[in-house]
């Protein structure tokens, strides 16, 4: 056996394209998943028992079923059910937006619940509505505490997006499979791709650790 990276290097632009698509899916899933997660958290915390139970069920359902099953369901099953033209890209965005929103919802909930009841009372006493207290007083403080958990979950999301390759979306994993078949060099291709993922995720993890340290130093507590 001899390592030969020539084939990987000549087609490296394919891998870069895959990397861009990986980042694209991650970013879009975050873009939709975070606000959706906030909505779910607010519904779950709402006083209305039925609404709260429904939100809790959605959250638990998407947290306890495997993301790959969800992806297959949205890609293969949903188009039959509601007659939409489903592309691998759309299925991926839909799946990971909803899947990550369930996790973000729990992070939001933890953050909101960690805020002292007195803060709600302080807002209420100056005439704020529930929504105003939430937006102006509670959320700004909660979000700061959530940052580490939020970053950790985003990194998990980035890793999970490798699943989109199974429905033939051209992310980094898919491009790797493609290139490995074309070049008959799976060892080099998969090793390089593993390193690419490692470099990206390791850098993000370090960043997240640095941020957490800074928050810890400024004396702010965080939630997990």
């Amino acid at each position: 056996m001899e390592w030969n990276f020539w084939a990987v290097m000549t087609d490296f632009d394919l891998l870069l394209l895959g990397l861009v698509n990986t980042l694209k899916v991650t970013a879009l899933a975050l873009l939709f998943g975070v606000p959706l997660g906030l909505c779910l958290a607010v519904l779950r915390l709402s006083g209305a028992r039925l609404v709260s139970a429904a939100a809790a069920f959605i959250i638990e359902f998407f947290r306890t079923t495997p993301p790959l099953v969800q992806l297959f369901w949205f890609f293969f099953a949903l188009p039959i059910l509601i007659d939409v033209r489903m592309t691998p890209f759309i299925a991926s965005i839909v799946t990971f937006s909803i899947q990550s929103s369930a996790f973000f919802a729990e992070i939001f909930r933890g953050g909101i619940q960690s805020i002292d009841q007195g803060q709600w009372e302080g807002g209420k006493a100056i005439g704020m509505t529930y929504a105003q207290s939430m937006r102006r007083i509670v959320l700004p403080q909660a979000v700061k505490r959530m940052i580490p958990a939020f970053m950790e979950r985003s990194i998990e999301l980035l890793k999970t997006t490798t699943l989109v390759s199974t429905v033939a979306y051209t992310d980094l994993m898919f491009q790797a499979n493609d290139l490995a078949q074309k070049t008959f060099r799976p060892l080099e291709v998969y090793t390089v791709v593993a390193l690419m993922y490692f470099a990206l995720i390791f850098a993000l993890s370090q960043l997240s650790i640095a941020v957490e340290h800074r928050l810890a130093k400024s004396g702010d507590s965080t939630v997990r």
Binding site: G118, I126, G127, M128, Q132, Q141, K144, G219
Partner: protein, 257 residues
Amino acid sequence: MNAILRIENLHKRFGDLTVLAGIDAAVEAGETVVLLGSSGSGKSTLLRCINFMETPTEGRITLHGRLVGEERGGVMRYRESELCKLRTRIGMVFQHFNLFPHMTVLRNIMEGQVTVLKRGAAEAAAKAREQLARVGLSDKADEYPARLSGGQKQRVAIARALAMDPDMMLFDEVTSALDPELVGEVLKTMRRLTEEGMTMVVVTHELGFAYHVANRVLFLDQGVILEQGEPQQVLKEPATQRMREFLDGHSLFKLPD
């Protein structure tokens, strides 16, 4: 009588626990009323019912001659928007300050003016500085609450409530969480408000404040008003055994001869 606030037959129950069992009281403009009572007597709950931090189980509250909420089928119904508006007219100061830690002192005092009263930023800032000067903390405008002492925090909280131009102020054991040496500065601020003619309802354990500043004291026991009257009379010549026991419990309080 020129009553700002009238409370009729007020009841508050938490599940099986009855905390207020029929309170009738009125507060006149410019009056400072002190609520006394041992813990569990219902005095804080009564205070919190006045601005609907707690919703009364039964009874009516009238502010400036207008009934709060509407009666439907023998039950009072309250709209959230009405209560929010009411709370802008009744300022409240808490035991644990409840300042917003993510905002500077100035921002804390501007927040309600801007978000709730929709005042412009410049107007709100000017008003905030005015109130800060009133509580003697002009130099702290740009500090964050975490950098202040307990007494300073409480004076900021008072300024925050005053900035809304309330008709009336509620004080809920505002000195109980303070170190003894910081109590004075807060009481002094409150006394000045009384002298300026602010209408105030105060829950406190500071009998000295009640004696020297209050126009009237109400003594609560087991959810009802047991005694009331001018402080000189009620504190010096308590009519009931419960009140005497309560006063004996405050051995530090010496009535001036």
